[in-house]
Every structure is written in structure tokens, then in C-alpha cells.
């Protein structure tokens, strides 16, 4: 019996399906049909067919990766069977500590009262962007108006969550720093003086 040269003729849509897989695994938001067509440089009809193939391959019960059509387009998600495992991955036990950068930023904002990013940066001697963003994301500090003057920078203050995490009823319970100054203004002056010295 003649054997065909190729036992399995690759489905011509396979290459396209692989391209779509690649696009979907890199995307951080659902991809619309238009976006997929533009990126793959293909006709809508063929992309639709390839998505159909992928829908069968990445189906609930068959694969841990599931292709889902949502409002914004197409995206991969985890299968329902793996929901518990995913929950364990994302709800990891409480995080122990804060990074040095986060702790310093938090201390400055807590002791000096509303403080802008540039001010935190000046006191710490390094850019404060990521530290501030991280603390905002964790809900430990929040925006509190702007500095005086036109185009004043956004200022931040600590939140009630901060007080809870640090076991304080309010900010007046922060450990006193008499050696640094009697009040926030004096501590602020001292910190600025030191940072100026550091960069002098």
C-alpha cells in the first residue's frame, strides 16, 4: 500500500493559529478581532476560523488554558478546574515586610505629614517614583492635594490601612523622635539639612 509522504497534512490554518496563540499569551488585555487580523496580517475570515480551532484546543476540560471571548475580544484564562490552585498562587500568605525603599518613604510621609514625591526623593537621595507607586497600590498612602503654587506636585499622606497595619489608633501614636526635633517641621528641616549635606 502506498503510504503518503506525509501522514498528517498540516492544517493550513495551523501556522495562523500558532501566531494567534503567541499574540494571546503576550497580551495583557483581551485582543479584538481587528487587532489580531492586523498583527497577523490576515483576513478576518481566516482569523475567525483559526480562533475556532483554538477554541476547540483550549476548551474547558481539555486544557488548563482556556480561550475566552469577552467584551473586549479574545483572551486566555485559567481553566475552572485550576481555580483552587490559582487562588493559592494569588492569595499567597501575608507578605512579611516592606522593602527598605518602602519603609523609608512610609516613615517620611507618616512623620512629616503630606509630602510630595520630589520631597521624598530629595530626602532619600534617590528617585521615589516606584516606592510611592507601590505604597499607593498597597493602599498604605493616598493622594492628599497638591503643593502650593501653580503646577504643585501631588502630595501623599498615610491611610487608615497604614494605621491598622502598624497597630496605631492614629498618627500621634507614632514613636516620638525627640532626638530629631519637637515637631514635624523641625524633623523636616533636619532631614532636608542632612540630604543637602549628602549631596553637597
Amino acid at each position: 500500500m502506498d503510504r503518503p509522504l506525509r501522514l498528517v497534512v498540516a492544517n493550513p490554518l495551523d501556522a495562523l493559529a500558532r501566531t494567534l496563540e503567541a499574540l494571546l499569551v503576550v497580551a495583557s488585555a483581551p485582543l479584538s478581532l481587528d487587532e489580531l487580523c492586523a498583527a497577523a496580517e490576515e483576513e478576518q475570515e481566516r482569523v475567525d476560523l483559526a480562533l475556532g480551532l483554538l477554541g476547540e484546543r483550549y476548551a474547558e476540560g481539555r486544557s488548563g488554558i482556556v480561550l475566552e471571548q469577552v467584551a473586549g475580544g479574545w483572551a486566555f484564562r485559567a481553566s475552572r478546574d485550576a481555580a483552587d490552585a490559582c487562588a493559592r498562587l494569588f492569595e499567597r500568605p501575608v507578605q512579611r515586610g516592606l522593602s527598605q525603599a518602602a519603609l523609608e518613604t512610609l516613615a517620611i510621609v507618616a512623620y512629616l505629614g503630606p509630602c510630595s514625591r520630589p520631597e521624598v526623593a530629595r530626602i532619600r537621595g534617590v528617585a521615589a517614583d516606584s516606592a510611592v507607586a507601590g505604597l499607593v497600590e498597597r493602599g498604605l498612602i493616598a493622594e492628599a492635594g497638591r503643593e502650593d503654587g501653580i503646577g504643585g506636585a501631588v502630595r501623599y499622606r498615610t491611610t487608615p490601612l497604614f494605621e491598622r497595619v502598624f497597630g496605631l489608633d492614629n498618627l500621634s501614636q507614632l514613636p516620638r523622635l525627640d532626638d530629631l526635633g519637637d515637631d514635624a517641621d523641625m524633623i523636616r528641616d533636619r532631614l532636608h539639612a542632612v540630604s543637602a549635606q549628602r549631596t553637597a
Partner: protein, 255 residues
């Protein structure tokens, strides 16, 4: 070979050696930003292209570079002046060789990184959370408020004896802000200039603004302002960026 006409192509300066010297002496170019080793390498390369050793050129070059190095060393390490003066010539040569060797290794490591990047430019991966991933819940363990006081005390303590912090320039180089704005614009499509520089010193703001003009001149950004004194908004110059983009790009980030 005429030493003063030696063409240089450094990060901080491009042009003949003579012009560099003039700018340095007029204090229009900060020596801290000048890679003197780069000048030496360039000179040695030129020297190697010739069959005969040009003694006159070598002598002149040595004098000029030594002067440059001394000026730079004084600027960078005022406290170490005494320490360096104590070194015997042989020790100084050994120390120089050691530092040079260390720097050469790092330069080669940098070259390795460039090559590696070029090889990895077709590796695309997702940065950030997946579209339909569960929202991570990041609960924090209870923290000790005493730690806050501790870190603040450290920040309020005067810097230790020999600090190299004087290397942080009081007049920040324009390049610092150019790099900063570029980096910001790779993350965000529009940046509010006033917000970025709010709180900086006047000098820093001025330098930041120069950086903006520099980027605009290079057609890398667009600047808009609705009315006089309204916030200044900076955006990437998309099409020009795409057209000029010839450098290897290797990572991706979803839209």
C-alpha cells in the same frame, strides 16, 4: 599626528580634542561627565594605525591627558588628594592598571549584554498581569511602628566621614533628564511636565526644560500647552520614533 585635532566620539562630547579642552577650561563642559579613558583609547587607536611611533605626539598627549586627569581627580575626589599624592609612581601605575582592568572588564560585560540582547530581540513575553487573572490580594503582616522611627533616624544622621556624594552634581546634566523623559515616555504616552518637575529646584527645572527642547529638536517628542502658563504636556513623536527606530528592541509590553 596633531593631537589637538584628534576626533573624539564620547558620550558627553563629540568633536576635536582641542574643542574639548577649550570647553573644559571655560567650564562649559563638566569634566565629571567626560570619559578620559575613552580619549586615551581613541589616541592609542590612532597611534596604532601608524607604523612609526610618533614621539612628539605621545609627549604632547601625555601632558594634556595628565592635566585633564588631574583636574578631574581634584573635582571628583577632593578628599583623596592627599591619599593619592602619597603613592609612589610605581604604586600609582599599578593602581591605575588595576582600575583600568576593572573598567575594561565591565566594558566587555556591557558588550556581552548588547550581543545577548540582539539575540533575544525576537523573544516576546507578557509584562504585568494576565487579562483575566484573579486580582492578587496582597495583605501585609502586622508591622512594628518602631521601625519607622529607626529608618528616619538613619536618614537624619549626617553622612559618614568620606562620602562620594559630592559626585552628585549640583547642576544636573541635561542628559539625565533626557534619559528620564525617554524612559517615562516608554511607559506612558503623555507626561505632564509640571508634575514631573514640581518640587525640583529652579536649576533642576531649568535643566529639565532644556532636556525637553533637546528631545523636541531630535523630533522624539511633541510638546503642547493649551495656553500660556497652562500645564505642559509631552508626548512621544510616534511616527518619527518608528521611522528612526533602528536600535535593537527586545521586550514587549502589551498595549
Amino acid at each position: 599626528m596633531i593631537v589637538r585635532e584628534l576626533e573624539l566620539d564620547l558620550d558627553a562630547f563629540e568633536g576635536p580634542f582641542d574643542l574639548l579642552l577649550t570647553l573644559v577650561l571655560k567650564e562649559e563642559l563638566d569634566l565629571a561627565e567626560v570619559d578620559v579613558a575613552g580619549i586615551v583609547v581613541r589616541f592609542v587607536e590612532r597611534l596604532a594605525e601608524r607604523e612609526q611611533l610618533d614621539l612628539e605626539a605621545c609627549g604632547e598627549f601625555l601632558v594634556l591627558v595628565a592635566a585633564l586627569l588631574e583636574l578631574k581627580a581634584r573635582g571628583l575626589f577632593p578628599d583623596e588628594e592627599a591619599e593619592l599624592a602619597d603613592l609612589e609612581p610605581e604604586e600609582a601605575a599599578e593602581e591605575l592598571a588595576r582600575r583600568l582592568a576593572e573598567y575594561r572588564r565591565m566594558k566587555e560585560a556591557a558588550a556581552w549584554l548588547v550581543e545577548r540582547l540582539a539575540g533575544e530581540r525576537d523573544r516576546f513575553f507578557r509584562i504585568g498581569p494576565a487579562p483575566l487573572a484573579p486580582q492578587p490580594e496582597r495583605r501585609l503582616a502586622p508591622q512594628d511602628p518602631a521601625k519607622l522611627g529607626e529608618v528616619l533616624r538613619l536618614l537624619a544622621a549626617p553622612p559618614a566621614t568620606v562620602s562620594l556624594a559630592h559626585m552628585e552634581l549640583r547642576f544636573p546634566p541635561v542628559a539625565q533628564f533626557v534619559e528620564r523623559f525617554r524612559a517615562l515616555l516608554t511607559r506612558r504616552s503623555v507626561v505632564d511636565f509640571d508634575q514631573e518637575v514640581g518640587g525640583l529646584t529652579r536649576v533642576e527645572q531649568a535643566v529639565a526644560f532644556l532636556a525637553l527642547l533637546e528631545l523636541r529638536r531630535a523630533n522624539q517628542i511633541t510638546i503642547s500647552q493649551a495656553a500660556p502658563f497652562a500645564p505642559i504636556r509631552i508626548a512621544r513623536a510616534e511616527e518619527t520614533a518608528a521611522a528612526n527606530e533602528r536600535t535593537p528592541a527586545w521586550i514587549v509590553h502589551s498595549a
